[in-house]
Subunit: 331 residues, 2 copies
DNA sequence: GCCATTGTCGCAACCGCTTCCTATTCTGCG
DNA sequence: CGCAGAATAGGAAGCGGTTGCGACAATGGC
């Protein structure tokens, strides 16, 4: 149905290998011949079949991206960065949503492996067990992990400096004169979030820390609990922006104004943080750049097949000052 | 490097065609043989090469999704719906961001065509010219358009009932007793948005209509202009939620409270609309379902190769009442 | 003018898999 | 016991490309 190399060869009166060489621009074909072939190919609307090419070259020019859910603005941004970088290198990105489900994630990995993607980019769900690691390594496929700095595994990783981010938030709140400060975070054992918590506690050792779900609802609930048990608290550091919005909602429901009655700092700096009311002071992490960098590393890994040393990249973070924090000193 | 059919065949002492049959479970191989083959395949960790398979079967089990930007929560949701549906049918989804750029979109289409994807799902940038349509059709690839109900083209489409949505918003605002109402929308000629505008104007014929960018900034600017020129307006229908947030911002900057001083209705019902302060009253469109339905149609189209009649599906919409609209009658 | 070199191009193998066709064995029946 | 027909397995052709190798002609140095 589609026009193939053979068709072009027949039409141009040359061997199909000559057509292949002409198209790929490789050495060993007369300029005149090449021109003629190119012309014919153009006229016939020839489109190389990249599947077939991949079969022989062994490279699919396709990358896999597994995130928990692309509807999460954080991952959407990472995905965009990854896609742009992949596109710039002539690669496609196949999108997978794992929903933080081990089994589903594994199914995706197998599927991607069967498609012989050049590499996989993923935010691994929970810490990988030894067996999991082995299984992954067994596929002999380059893998870059998003947001997993620590751990003894031997994969390349890209993430933001979560520890520093937590520290920044803590220092900022103290600098603004807050004394009683709380930290609302996700479940214990969540890698990134606990890094943030550790950094924060380094700056604010006597902070109140509450664990819960790292969602809007979770932020609401935790804030409710907090305001009830610790009414003396004047500032809250939420483990991510969505939780921070939950805190703001909970505050509003109790008639507390942000920032006058309660200061809030988030983490991520998703787009809505600037749009929210009041605009949220938060720790920015370069999501787009993280996605892009991960692809760069992945492609580098795919290039040199030998199991080169894993590359680890940690991006800096930055506190974005907006209007959700009250300066207590000027009051 | 990877273990192939041949390896399994050698190890099991049978021909490779037998292995193929055993694995595919097709008729014509002794149960005992099949068992042995399966065992060997398992032991060798055999993974079929789906690229090679696709080469001969002609189906890649891959779909392309071209959106303007996955960071847009609307498209993220559509993408998620599409991915889930694709996954359920054993297909992969490759993600492309066109940035509303004709040329970029075309490059993606060509690239996807070269990969022999089974079909493409896209929110076409602007109305397609005759030439564009022809070019697309020329690829002989199933295509489903997102959010393009009208138009004389011959593609299948999936979208929400934008006209009805606009009408709903208009009626609601009138029912709440508003007399002077404005509509802030995107650039003229934007298909969906103008459908919404038409529906709205059907319900509120004397509305003030302002065109601008359909972004947060655009919402801000347009609202600024509106409040200056038409201070008598008490309610605004924004063409999408993000614009509505812009309106809310502009109102806040001028000391106007929402909804007491200005009522706002959005469109889309993105996640943040429920989280915003105040929660935004908006027209819900089933984004996830749109993505999923588009994939279903695409797969159906890919199944029966004959150029079957294009399928068009329009989803219902629903007004979600939250707290951004004031009831003028009870005042 | 001859041979070695270089430039062009065709031939054929191969990538890993599916599938049609054919050869062989097994089965059941008269 | 012989034979038709079904069951089973192997052979081989392709899917659409890439690439090493050899054939052949043109070129250049002596």
């Amino acid at each position: 149905m589609a026009v193939t190399l053979k068709d072009v060869a027949r039409e141009a009166g040359v061997d199909l290998s000559t057509v292949s060489r002409s198209l790929s621009g490789s050495y060993g074909v007369h300029e005149e011949t090449r021109k003629r072939v190119l012309e014919v190919a153009e006229r016939l609307h020839y489109r190389p079949n990249r599947i077939a090419r991949g079969l022989v070259t062994g490279r699919s020019h396709t990358l896999g991206l597994i995130v928990s859910d692309v509807r999460n603005p954080f991952f959407a941004e990472v995905a965009r960065g990854a896609e742009d970088a992949a596109c710039a290198h002539g690669c496609d990105l196949v999108l997978c949503n794992s929903d933080l489900d081990q089994a589903k994630q594994m199914r995706y990995i197998v599927s991607l492996a069967e498609k012989r993607v050049d590499g996989i980019l993923m935010n691994s769900v929970s810490a990988l067990g030894k067996a999991q690691q082995q299984a992954l390594a067994g596929f002999g496929m380059p893998i870059v992990l998003l947001n997993r700095a620590s751990g003894a595994h031997s994969f390349s990783t890209v993430c933001a400096d979560n520890y520093l981010g937590g520290q920044l938030a803590g220092r900022y709140l103290k600098a603004k004169g807050h004394i009683r400060i709380a930290h609302l975070t996700g479940p214990r054992g969540h890698g990134n979030l606990s890094d943030r918590a550790r950094g924060f506690l380094n700056a604010v050792p006597d902070a109140v820390v509450l664990h819960g779900r790292h969602t809007f609802q979770g932020g609401c609930e935790l804030a409710g609990k907090l305001l009830e048990r610790h009414p003396e608290v004047t500032a809250v550091f939420a483990a991510n922006d969505v939780m921070a919005f939950g805190v703001m909602r909970a505050a509003a429901e109790r008639g507390l104004r942000v920032p006058q009655d309660l200061s809030v700092v988030g983490f991520d700096n998703i787009e809505f943080s600037g749009i929210a009311h009041p605009p949220l002071t938060t720790v920015h992490q370069p999501k787009y750049e993280i996605g892009a960098a991960a692809v760069e590393i992945l492609l580098r890994l795919a290039e040199k097949q030998n199991g080169s040393a894993p590359e680890r990249r940690i991006f800096g973070v930055e506190l974005i000052e907006r209007d959700s924090v009250q300066d207590c000193r000027t009051r």
